[in-house]
């Protein structure tokens, strides 16, 4: 399953309003690029940019709750896998637990549908209040993590 990018970072980071801190951090990254600083330093400056804005922090808080939800889904899939030994049946059982209906037969299809159709349910049960840009990042991560951890 491929990774989709998180969308326009400036809209994402500025959803709480533009800040002098983020503008200053962007300048620091531009300087690090211009001065041909080591990749490690350039990335560390990028990490400072994440720390300077509220939306990335809020997304990282939400990541904890989404990971817990992913654990519950994987747990359900694992129980079904113990009974059937079939990764597709395991994914179907996990999908049914999330959206209370059948959402496909093949593992990959179920994972995609579970995240697409079940995202509102997952958000509600995890108590998340996130915007579209944050949802894009969180659902991409969830989809790929489920693909990695569900029985195959």
């Amino acid at each position: 399953m491929g990774s989709r990018r998180g969308g326009d970072f400036s809209k994402f980071a500025a959803s709480a309003g533009p800040s002098r801190a983020t503008t200053a951090k962007i300048r620091e990254i531009q300087t690090a690029l211009k001065e041909n600083k080591a990749a490690r330093i350039v990335v560390a400056t990028g990490i400072d940019l994440l720390a300077a804005s509220s939306p990335p922090i809020a997304t990282l808080v939400a990541t904890y709750r989404v990971s817990k939800a992913a654990y519950d889904i994987a747990n359900e899939a694992n129980k079904a896998y113990q009974k059937t030994g079939d990764p597709n049946a395991a994914a179907v059982a996990a999908g049914k637990q999330v959206v209370k209906m059948a959402i496909g037969e093949a593992r990959g299809e179920v994972i995609n549908n579970m995240v697409d159709i079940g995202w509102t349910t997952i958000k509600t049960s995890a108590g998340l209040s996130t915007d579209d840009a944050q949802d894009r990042i969180l659902t991409t991560a969830l989809r790929n993590t489920l693909d990695e951890v569900l029985p195959q």
């Binding site: 998180g6 970072f9 990254i29 560390a44 990490i47 720390a51 990971s67 951890v149």
Partner: protein, 96 residues
Amino acid sequence: MNEETLEKIMTANYSRVFKDMLLAAFKSDPKLTPSYLSEPIQRQRKIESEIEKQSNEMAKFLVGRLKEKRYLTKEPSDKELKVLIRETLHKFGVSK
């Protein structure tokens, strides 16, 4: 299924979110992206490889701290999570 599985899921998920946010910062910010894309392709690849490495390390560090605080079994508040997230970003960032 146990704490070890939760730790694995959380590390994988955090690593992806860190990576996606950092890539978005470099590749889809109207102010920053032109500077980034004007770098030689080889350097861009090097930075992206470093993003992947740092994202994995930040995820491992953060989940390790969550585990130390027993937050894998007991759900922390948003405030408690933010403290550890800021600590992680601070440790891996330039500003000390």
